[in-house]
Symmetry: C2
Subunit: 355 residues, 2 copies
């Protein structure tokens, strides 16, 4: 992976910075953006020269295909600052690879490494002051691609825009997370786009999640759409279950996102000697474990939320509260993972990449 300086990017600097207006102690996730953005357009069958320029709205035709057919993908990443003021990425190659897998599934052109990773490197050098020191402070990175070609005919676009925008962030969720297990609504079809970080996967969850919110639950644990018997994802995160001292998480599949945090947790758990099994967990197993007291923890895992402990779940109108543990595996693994990300502990995996 080449993250060295790239001369093939046009850079237009903002005339002033907004950074002094930002209250970094009271950030709401994802609603403040840094001074610059990266744009790279695909047209005439090839990627054009990327530009880093001041963050600002841009023009699109009313018939742009992203509006009508949802041809759009994204990634979620974070930059971290260590105690020496160096800025680090966590497994950026994984996000780059997945982005292009998503692109392929959505019939969009793959983005070259020098645009995605090279461009990210350049914009992070410019915006390094937006990455604040201290565990919990991050700069959330949102690479995305939209279909900008025009025409209201349901076919792939011939023009696309790849962008990177950056948002300073603290925690994604605040407060306790209770979940409800999906009995009717679903996140993904067999042979569908569930494994892609495609825009349409997310808005499809909004209405069922709103119904869950109205019942007092923050998220939904999605089940397989055909039988609603297999536990698959939690909201927009992968999900782990601890029964006695074994951790379980579903295998990634066509329906389940191959999360970077998920695979890092599996590797960390293995290294820590925690028994971890990658297999489908069935709803009845979870309910039985909750009833007989062997269910110790449930947690979501994803870049935005890192590891998100779940305090209880509801299934068929019955609510199961999880125990409050002194020896939470979720919190232990979160600590290990964030120590690596913030360079507080040795990265024996080679996951961290310096900007």
């Amino acid at each position: 992976m080449n993250l060295s300086t790239n001369n093939e990017i046009d850079i237009v600097r903002a005339s002033s910075t907004k950074i002094n207006d930002i209250d970094f102690d009271n950030l709401v996730f994802g609603n403040i953006f840094t001074d610059h953005m990266l744009i790279c357009d695909f047209k005439d069958g090839k990627w054009q020269k990327p530009t880093i320029k001041p963050y600002e709205p841009f023009l699109l035709d009313p018939s742009a295909k992203v509006f009508h057919y949802g041809q759009a993908i994204f990634e979620g990443m974070k930059a971290y600052k260590d105690n020496n003021d160096d800025v680090w990425l966590f497994r950026p190659d994984e996000n780059f690879d997945r982005f292009n897998k998503s692109a392929k599934r959505m019939a969009m052109p793959e983005v070259p490494e020098e645009v995605f990773l090279g461009g990210l490197h350049e914009i992070l050098k410019i915006e390094k002051d937006w990455v604040k020191k201290g565990k919990g402070n991050t700069l959330y990175i949102r690479p995305f691609m939209i279909a900008t070609g025009t025409g209201v005919v349901a076919a792939p676009s011939s023009q696309y825009r790849f962008m990177i925008i950056l948002s300073p962030a603290k925690a994604y969720y605040s407060g306790e997370v209770k979940v409800i297990i999906a009995e009717h609504y679903s996140r993904a079809a067999n042979g569908g786009i569930g494994a892609a970080k495609a825009a349409g996967n997310y808005s499809a969850q909004f209405y069922p999640t709103k119904l869950a919110n109205e019942q007092g639950f923050q998220q939904i644990i999605w089940t397989d759409d055909a039988t609603h018997t297999k536990l698959e994802e939690a909201g927009t995160m992968n999900v782990f279950f601890r029964i006695n001292d074994t951790l379980f998480t579903a295998p990634s599949s066509e329906r389940i996102l191959d999360g970077v945090t998920r695979k890092s947790i599996i590797a960390l758990a293995e290294k820590e000697g925690i028994d971890i099994q990658v297999r489908s967990v069935l709803v009845w197993e979870l309910v039985e474990a909750a009833k007989n007291g062997t269910l110790k923890e449930i947690f979501g895992a994803g870049t935005a939320a890192v590891i998100n402990p779940i305090v209880g779940f509801s299934y068929k109108d019955e609510y199961f509260e999880l125990p409050k543990l002194e020896d939470s595996v979720a919190l232990k693994l979160k600590d290990k993972l964030t120590n690596i990300q913030y360079k507080l502990e040795e990265d024996t995996f080679g996951w961290t990449v310096k900007i």
Copy 2:
């Protein structure tokens, strides 16, 4: 339904018209737009005053939720001109109702009738010269709504834009349509958004359709995602099968769009005394009927394509050619339907609405 003049719309007229530059005999579907568009924004919890103004690109923030989470819906409708130069809509109340059903499923605000239908009436009065006389000439109407609120957090937007754009059109498909029956990829999940005209449903089909195209097929007949045994939709159309003298089409469901053309064909067939059965058709039934010669016709039905005869289908690498018929039910029903739409035959159903 009140389609009378609405004083609650701001109108800014284009200074000139593009209409004289258009070659109306050689239109490509969906890539030419009329001089004006309608815009109505939702913010602060309510719909603002709509505006009809010159068709032009508009600004969006890079973090607009439509780009990241695909919160976007649309409708497809057509305007027709009769021999007296009057302009007609076909069952516009059905599109309006379905649009708001889609809105609900995608956690978007419902659009008021005076904005959707009242606004459509106003813009069609302005653009009436773009509707050309003669069967086959239409003005394709694309109402749509996108999430314009900002912020990269996966939750419903608080701001939306509803728009209507108009595109003069002839046929949607040209040439023969051969289809392949889906064995792996799927269009919709149980408990998913298949019944909504949500943007994400369409881009999800692009890659499997591209694979089909590469094998020489124009469209896919989608099957249920759990078993791939039930025939559901054809590309972006509903699908009908004629076995002997009985027509079959799948019931609308959570996975299958409740098409306006579909339901009009069912009503027309009943009126014409054609035996029509609304039930799931299984793949093996179709293959058996093709093998024993009782399969007479397959056709897609939708607003854009009207009725689209299919000349053959492939299943598990076996290709079945359909007979060339003198007495095609597809063409008979298409003729009946378009005669009603163009006011060439009495509309005993009360489907047509004058502008």
